[in-house]
Every structure is written in C-alpha cells, then in structure tokens.
C-alpha cells in the first residue's frame, strides 16, 4: 500500500516524540489502544492557564498511527482546552489522506486527545480542591 506524502513525512520526521512526567503540574496524559490490536498511543499535553503550551506523544502502531498522533501534537500546541476539544478524526483523515483501512488510526488519535484533555481536567479539579 502506498502511503501519502504527509504520512511518510510524519513517520520519517515525527514531531514532538517524548514524554512529560505524568504527575507534573498542568500535564494531562491520554493512553489509548491495546497491544493486541497493534496500536497503542500515549499523548500528553502541558497546559498553562487555558492554553496548551506543549504536547508530546509515543506510539506503538503502523505508520498511519504514528503520523496521526504526530499530527495531533502539532495541532494541539497553542490551542485552548476548548479549541482542542473540537479536533475531529475526520480532520486528521483529510490532512493525512488516510485510506479507509487506516481510519481507525485517526479515531484512536482523537480518543487520545480526548483522554489527555479529560485527564488534565480531572487533575486540575483535584488540584484546586
């Protein structure tokens, strides 16, 4: 199967690979997928005020899964929490030209974003209490 140029670019030059400390203030972590399914994404955001100032990922999965999560981190940086909530898997499909068999990779990336945001909110609530 031929990959789109954008997928190849993200695969060869993944943006924002790495990790933040999970317990660090302002960090939200989302981990989705399962090794048995061949995809696991870990996506992290670092929030200051209402804005996501940094994002990192690590992904076990095919090239499209790596590209989807790499793109997600790029998009998250600089967005507010509310703006980040609006990122849809279909946006990722469009941007990366994912074929139908790879749509689940974009779904997983959206799930990872949602999970990271939820984790951040949960932490923020307990911190303010």
């Amino acid at each position: 199967m031929a990959y789109s140029e954008k997928v190849v670019d993200h695969y060869n030059n993944p943006r924002n690979v790495g990790s933040f400390k999970k317990d660090e203030k302002g960090v939200g972590t989302g981990m989705v997928g399962a090794p048995e399914c061949g995809d696991v994404m870990k996506l992290q955001i670092k929030v200051e005020g209402e804005r996501i100032v940094d994002a990192k990922f690590k992904t076990f999965g095919c090239g499209s899964a790596i590209a989807s999560s790499s793109l997600a981190t790029e998009w998250l940086k600089g967005k507010t929490i509310d703006e980040a909530q609006t990122i849809k898997n279909t946006d990722i499909v469009q941007e990366l030209n994912l074929p139908p068999v790879k749509i689940h990779c974009s779904v997983l990336a959206e799930d990872a974003i949602k999970a990271a945001l939820a984790d951040y909110k949960k932490k923020a609530e307990t911190e303010t209490k």
């Binding site: 199967m1 690979v17 989705v32 399914c37 061949g38 995809d39 870990k42 690590k58 992904t59 090239g63």
Partner: protein, 405 residues
C-alpha cells in the same frame, strides 16, 4: 550494492535466467499445442511437455505420468480437496487438516464444509507450528477420506513430520495430500518415502514462471482418482482440462532440474546466510523472539518478533528491503497472522513479527546491510514506543487494563 533488496522469497522468487532461456523458444518459434497429435508443431510441444514432466517428477521421486499441470498451487489444492471429496463421497466425507495450512487449503475445506459436502477436523499445532502425527491418528474416523497437511509453513518455515503422517495414512488406507509449495526444490522431497498420494506445488516459488503449478496424483498403490473440477478437452488424463501452457511448463521443468542439481549446496548456503542474519539481529537487539521451529525449518526462512514495535511500521522504515509482516494493520479485520496465533504467539508479538525469506540471488552483503538497517529501525521505533517506555519503567504490560478497540 543495488537497492531495493528482495528478501521475500516465500511470496515468490525471481526467475532464474537459465529458466527463461529454456522457455523462450516456446513462445514464437515452437508455439504448437501439445494436444495436436497429427502434426509436427504438436509433436514438438508434446515432447517439450513430456520432458518437463520427467524433470519435475525426478525432483520429487515420482513417475512423469503422475504429474498433472494446473495454474498454480492454489488450483492444485482446490483440485485435490474438491476432487477427492467428490470422487470418494460414497466412502466418506471427512477431511483432517491443520490450523496453519495455507489459505488455499483452509478456504477450500471451509467451502466444502459450508456447502455440506464435507466435515473437517482442524488439528492444532505445537508452539513451533508442528502437527503431531498422533493427533492425526486420533482424528481419523470411519468417514475420513483425506488427510491434508502441509510440508513446510509459508510464514514460519516449520517442517512437518510428513513421513510419519504418510505412514499413518497408509496404515489406515486414507489418502494423504500434502501442500509442498514451500518445500519442493528447497529440501529433499520423496513422495514414495513420505507416503504422499497427492501433492501441490508451483513453479514461481522455485525460480520458475508464475501461472503454472502441479498436482502430483499417485498412480500406483493406491491408484488415486479425483473428480475433475474443470471440464473440457480431457487433458491431463481427464483430471484437468485446458490447453497446456507449454512455455510455462518448459520453464517449470528446467527450474526443477536446476533445483535437483543445486539444492544441496544451495540449501547449505542459504542456511548459513539465514543463521548469520538471525544471529546478527537477535544478538544486537534485546527482546526479539524466533517464531517457528529452531531446527526443523526451511533453510531460507527466518521469522522474528520484535517486542514493542509494530510490524508494518517496521516495514515502512525499510522501504529498500522487501520483507513481509504478520501484522495485519492493513486488513479489514485487524487480526494478525493466524499462523502465529495458532502457535500461541500473543497478538502483540504477532503484530511485531517480520518474515525474512532468503533466496538463490541474495548475497552476504545484502544480509549484512539488512542486519544493520533492522537494528537502526527497531531502535528508532522503540524510542517512540509507549510500550517500550513502560517496560523499561518496570510496568508489567500484561497487567495493564487496555482499552481494546
């Protein structure tokens, strides 16, 4: 060194130039129909076909009259299973096969089952992918008419104890079909010693042309009969109608002749290259696992799982090396290799598997390059794998509650 490198010789092989040379006259100059009995063009074609039949039969220790030409091993498998079930339906309708067979056997068996024409027992294999002959014996019922077990597996290269299975089949008077597509021309095959009654294989796996296969059909002790699945001019002793593909058959014959002459030396050379590849990769990288049998395997096969990295992403990073993965990230079901799953390999490691298939035209230089690139890419992908990170932190991945999707 020229790139890309072809290390996927289980899927197909490049044609040997000597094979092409043998075929060329049979396209334009010697174009006759081997079934034309009344003129020189036909005689010439027939002679070429009969010569090829002898070359092919010699490689597997059969008689040339026992060679039935088909379009490939898939058709041979179909013809064997469907042909036997149809011919012997009054005797019984039970087939014994195994879970790691090629899809051409499994899907044919399934199709016969669905249509109510056969009942099928799928034997499980051990952790090396081997069928236990005693399991075959135990599965036999008074309705069993066919045992179909492959010689060597196309993914993991494990070689089955075919001789023992053949012995049991003889003892019980049941026909034994063997899909030997991956084994013929690579390891010694003797249909007499192995007690094989029907055997499928094809030319393109042994440096011959695509589009031509053989079903060996035993003529004596017992005389095997199969119902034709293709009706027409009654070619191939009525078992497979259709004008013979003379140039392809000539190529198949020559390919078998070369294998017969060079197989021993070539097998040793490929095994040495394979061992070098295996050692080079597995010594340099932690948590790599060999899939298949450590010794009872094809000399040119190597199948390794690289923990914490997904197979397809590995292949994507190795664009200049042609390999195959047990990951099924592209398939609609997202199910990894059923062969590896049958061995008890976890889905995670099945997704992480790579199959290396060496061949006649590979070199040590290519092997060394592949080792170097595998180490690079696995290291790079592990650095970006959350699973590797967790394992390094001491997290037991099996204890994690994953959200399966």
């Amino acid at each position: 060194m020229k790139l890309p490198i072809f290390l996927d010789n289980h899927s197909t092989t490049p044609m040997d130039p000597r094979v092409l040379e043998a075929m060329l006259p049979y396209f334009v100059e010697k174009f006759g129909n081997a079934a034309s009995r009344n003129h020189a063009f036909g005689w010439e074609a027939e002679e070429a076909v009969e010569n090829a039949r002898k070359q092919i039969a010699k490689l597997i220790h059969a008689d040339s009259k026992e060679i039935v030409f088909t379009s490939g091993a898939t058709e041979s498998d179909n013809l064997a299973l469907k042909g036997v079930i149809e011919m012997y339906h009054e005797k019984g309708n039970h087939i014994i096969t195994s879970t790691t067979e090629h899809r051409a056997v499994l899907d044919t068996a399934k199709s016969l089952e669905t249509k109510g024409k056969a009942t099928v027992t799928y034997l499980s294999v051990d952790k090396y992918g081997m069928v236990n002959p005693e399991d075959v014996r135990k599965a036999i019922t008074d309705k069993t008419v066919l045992i179909s077990i492959m010689l060597a597996n196309n993914e993991i290269g494990t070689i089955n104890p075919v001789k023992e299975i053949g012995k049991i089949a003889k003892e019980k008077g049941i026909l034994f079909h063997c899909d030997a597509t991956q084994g013929v021309g690579k390891i010694p095959v003797n249909v007499q010693e192995m007690g094989i009654d029907l055997m499928s294989f094809s030319a393109h796996k042994i440096y011959g042309p695509k589009g031509i296969g053989v079903l060996y059909v035993r003529k004596k002790a017992p005389r095997v009969r199969i119902a034709a699945q293709m009706d027409g001019g009654g070619h191939e002793r009525g078992m497979r109608s259709g004008t013979l593909a003379v140039p392809l058959i000539v190529g198949f014959g020559r390919a078998c002749e070369i294998c017969e002459q060079e197989m021993d030396a070539e097998g040793r050379k490929l095994a040495a290259m394979r061992d070098r590849l295996q050692a080079g990769i597995m010594k340099a990288l932690e948590e790599t696992y060999l899939n298949g049998h450590p010794t009872q395997r094809l000399p040119h096969n190597l199948n390794i799982s690289f923990a914490y990295v997904e197979g397809e992403s590995l292949l994507m990073g190795l664009k200049e090396i042609a390999l195959s993965s047990g990951s099924a990230c592209t398939s609609a079901t997202l199910e990894p290799s059923y062969v590896l799953r049958a061995l008890g390999v976890g889905s995670d490691l099945a997704h992480s598997s790579i199959r290396f298939g060496l061949g006649r035209f590979n070199t040590d230089e290519q092997v060394d390059y592949t080792i170097k690139r595998m180490i690079e890419i696995v290291t790079r992908l592990r650095e970006m794998s959350p699973l590797y990170e967790m394992a390094k932190e001491g997290v037991d991945l099996k204890s994690v509650q994953w959200a399966a999707h």
